[in-house]
Symmetry: C2
Subunit: 364 residues, 2 copies
């Protein structure tokens, strides 16, 4: 069984349709059954394609890969608590978004699509642009005009056509969706193949913990690209009885743009009316995350929580972590700010990803 399935109306579609949403307008997931054989896994190359049976690409010849993944998991102390830091910034383009891009672009190659469009606050755009370049696919990347210069230059160096859009992050999305009428929308928030890639984050942690689930994972959350992927991966492991519980997923949002936090707290059915202010965590300033409902259900199912952090707290965590010799962007530092705000014990296995490289941000 391999199908798209609508999260609202449950309508199904075959995976070889060039499709990114349901006819009803809602978001899709992928239903996909597979089983891991641990003894086989152990002997494979140290990249995320080691989980080949979990990745719904039909023909190996379509795989677009730079040998990415299997990032280091480094034990350390942060704010006097033991944590494991996953170095997701050591992907080819400098962020975890390459997990999604390698799978999505492989599928787009399989579909023989030659022109795509994507919108991004920067990191997903760079990832899509890099893998498109390798695949010989032309892409148009839409970004808010205030995006960090280092990210903009990177996208252009890959040969993508860059569109800088004035206004909010939502204005950028709207411009991309309008352009997708003439091209295929390779969206990292709409397209479920992207999440099939980010789910490998869960598999790597499981394997690096000697085939166990951690207790808590703290994730910077805007569109939920990493959070949803993490859930899908651990849920698959649970269904296969390879772990005995889901880790608690802790989503951290900027207090200047925290729609998910408000929706969970106030049990809202729709987005709150936010007047988004500028925040140092540019990568997760998403006022209307299209998978909001899915994210909130995941948080509840995993017995997790959504918390917020201020720019001041993010800046302090950023300084602390850099002084530990780890170079990260402010959007990633919010997870460390979150770690200071939640309770956990010395026995708990707590994972914090460094989602994006410090080199991507224009510090001054």
């Amino acid at each position: 069984m391999k199908n798209f399935i609508c999260l609202k109306c449950s309508k199904e579609y075959g995976l070889n349709e060039p499709r990114w949403k349901c006819d009803c307008g809602n978001v899709l997931d992928i239903e996909y059954k597979y089983t891991f054989d641990i003894s086989k896994l152990k002997n494979r190359k140290n990249n995320l394609w080691r989980y080949r049976e979990s990745l719904p690409i039909e023909d190996d010849n379509n795989i677009i890969s730079f040998g990415e993944g299997f990032t280091p998991l480094v034990e350390t102390y942060y704010a006097e608590k033991k944590v494991l830091i996953k170095f997701e910034h050591l992907f080819p383009t400098g962020s975890f978004k390459d997990r999604g891009a390698t799978v999505l672009i492989s599928k787009i190659k399989e579909l023989k699509i030659k022109n795509i469009v994507e919108d991004s606050s920067g990191n997903a755009g760079a990832a899509i642009a890099a893998y498109s370049a390798k695949a010989g696919i032309h892409c148009h990347i839409y970004v808010p005009e205030k995006t960090s210069k280092n990210k903009l230059v990177q996208i252009e160096m890959f040969g993508a056509t860059l569109h800088k859009i004035p206004g909010t992050r939502e204005d950028t999305s709207n411009a991309a969706i309008e352009a997708s009428l003439r091209s295929f929308y390779a969206s990292h928030s709409w397209n479920p193949f992207f999440f099939q890639g980010t789910k490998t984050f869960a598999f790597e942690i499981w394997e690096q913990l000697n085939f166990k689930a951690p207790d808590i994972i703290i994730i910077p959350t805007g569109n939920g690209t990493l959070l949803i992927g993490t859930y899908l991966g651990f849920k698959d492991l649970l269904n296969q009885k390879l772990i005995d519980k889901l880790p608690r997923l802790v989503a951290v949002q900027s207090d200047k743009c925290a729609p998910l936090y408000k929706m969970l707290l106030e049990n809202l059915k729709d987005f709150p009316n936010l007047s988004t202010q500028e925040t140092i965590s540019e990568g997760i300033a998403i006022a209307r995350p299209i998978r909001a409902k899915q994210i909130i259900e995941i948080i509840k199912e995993s017995n997790g929580m959504i918390i917020t952090a201020t720019d001041e707290e993010i800046k302090n965590s950023l300084k602390d972590v850099c002084k530990m010799g780890i170079y990260l962007e402010p959007t990633s530092a919010i997870a460390f700010a979150g770690a200071k705000k939640i309770e956990f014990s010395e026995k708990d296995i707590v994972i914090i990803p460094v989602t994006g490289h410090g080199l991507k941000y224009n510090y001054q």
Copy 2:
């Protein structure tokens, strides 16, 4: 047998002396005997410390590591020739210099030294600063004032004291050596522990090629940090009869600063009198590489060569490689420019490292 040995007068010293050069003023190497057991290697974690027996740190508790190394080796076509690209830019600080820094800083921790000084065109400085931060060692980093801003900011974020020196790269070295009278000189060109780290580049290639040596390795060369390490690693493998030949090492220099090229070509005993011009390959613009004699002997022994590339050729290669979805700094692009200039066949296994991340350079 574990000793420092002078490459000129052959005087030996114990490895626990806080020492970076011979009393005669010349550079030192390390004599160190060990043997690899391939069946044991295979089951170790995917980072460069998997070659533990080859790394002369006495106590595991002194190891300062971020789980770095075992970088991807990606097969592709470049200029219509098959090559294997080693993704050395996916180290924590964005360059292969972390190989040297993890070993050197571990040794400095073992020696209980708390203050160090280093000079660098940027990447080695960032690497030393990051590992020092993790080790709780204070470092002073001396750089030419024209170094890329992204690199300067990175060094400062790690908490190092940054000294921007006007004039040539040599003026920067002189300032650092002067400062080392009051502190320990953690030099990536003088200190042989650094090369004990960069030698792991050879081991990874050997293991990734299923325990074989490649035919050719093309390396951007200034001080020779990677070239010498590569030689030391393959030489150790040859001595252990784990390979049957050395790969041919091809050093590429900027035509605007090519002392090694001139010394080999004209059989000079001393540095040529260069009027160094500015070049886009800032990381290898070294007019007087202190290990020049060693580098030239290595090139001869490996049946290799030294070639040069122009800024125009470097820029063209840079564009080509970015359009393949690989983001690199101009200094790294010179290896690809070199690949276009040498002859090799479809049968040859040719390795090109991406030595530094594109995110480290301020394009535009």
